[in-house]
């Protein structure tokens, strides 16, 4: 097996090399009886079945229930349990967008994402471009997502560098008073929960 390619620019055969390495390590672990192919497949299916709908449900509840919102902002993990949303060992921090502050999430080091809550992250979230640029020039990156913020709104970029995982609570769209939680949840997008989109 060749040495890993120089992926300083993220180009070349980096992706192919690491795919081959992952397949080799997985095959060895199965061969040595550390895990079974069925266990791998089961975990893949569980991960793929999680969607951002679980997070949207929490946000919709927080929009209509101020006491739940305060509990969710104080302890995201407990707020999941309150709605019977299983998130395993994940530690969750929910950050509220306001008229003065807009939050957006990144993992500059790799691709940490609240997978136990929201499922698999989008490919752009894992790209070197997003990870290196959003901490450096968030307004430009958000504009490329079609998200324009006024100059008097501060942007906070959250780098998920250790054990915490993040979800954004987007601003509730105007004119939604009286809608029930299911209708509200349907308005919430995955990119809104990451912070690259407004609703």
């Amino acid at each position: 097996m060749n040495a890993p390619p120089d992926n300083a620019t993220g180009s070349g055969d980096a992706r192919g090399y690491y795919r081959r390495m992952q397949a080799a390590v997985e095959a060895l672990l199965i061969l040595k009886g550390v895990m079974s192919a069925e266990e791998v497949q089961r975990e893949v299916q569980i991960m793929a079945a999680r969607t951002y709908e679980r997070g949207a449900r929490m946000v919709a509840r927080a929009w209509v229930d101020p006491a739940y919102k305060e509990r969710m902002l104080a302890n995201g993990k407990a707020a999941c349990a309150e709605l019977q949303i299983e998130v395993g060992p994940m530690h969750l921090i929910v950050l509220e967008n306001t008229a003065r502050v807009h939050n957006v999430v990144v993992c500059t080091l790799c691709s940490c994402y609240p997978r136990f809550l929201l499922g698999i992250p989008p490919d752009w979230y894992k790209s070197r471009e997003y990870r290196s640029r959003v901490v450096r020039e968030p307004r430009k990156v958000l504009e490329e997502f079609g998200t324009r913020l006024p100059a008097d709104v501060d942007i906070r970029v959250h780098d998920s560098s250790a054990d915490m995982r993040y979800m954004i609570m987007p601003l509730r769209p105007a004119g939604t008073e009286g809608l029930d939680q299911a209708r509200l949840a349907a308005m919430i997008t995955r990119d809104g929960l990451i912070g690259t989109a407004l609703l």
Binding site: H91, I93, T108, L109, V135, R136, E137, P138, R139, A151, D152, V153, D154, I155, R156, V157, H158, D159, S160, S161, A162, D163, M164
Partner: protein, 101 residues
């Protein structure tokens, strides 16, 4: 999460801290772009096993206090072109933090 033998938290929310300007070998989770820079502790997250040890199959104990530190974006990058209130908030382990003036 509080491990039974966690290192005691040295900082509190609101404390001004500086990230050590070090470049040790091996696996670290402190991004380069904040090393040497000062910020404010936004919250104490609890104590967690040291990832620099976990990466090599060690237990990473005693658990280290983990903080979210808020850095002004214009402090991180001299030519930052955004609002003065823009910030980057990063989780940083206690062994990388010193008190700042």
């Amino acid at each position: 999460m509080q491990a039974a033998e966690a290192v005691r938290a040295r900082f509190r929310a609101g404390d001004r801290v500086r990230v050590r300007a070090a470049t040790p070998p091996g696996h670290v989770r402190t991004p380069h772009y904040c090393r040497g820079h000062a910020g404010v502790v936004e919250r104490v997250c609890g104590a967690f096993p040291n990832p620099e040890e976990l990466a090599y199959g060690r237990a990473g104990e005693p658990a280290l206090p983990l903080y979210r530190v808020r850095f002004a974006s214009r402090e991180l990058w001299a030519d930052y072109a955004g609002s003065p209130g823009d910030a980057v908030e990063i989780e940083i382990f206690q062994n990388w933090l010193e008190p700042a003036n």
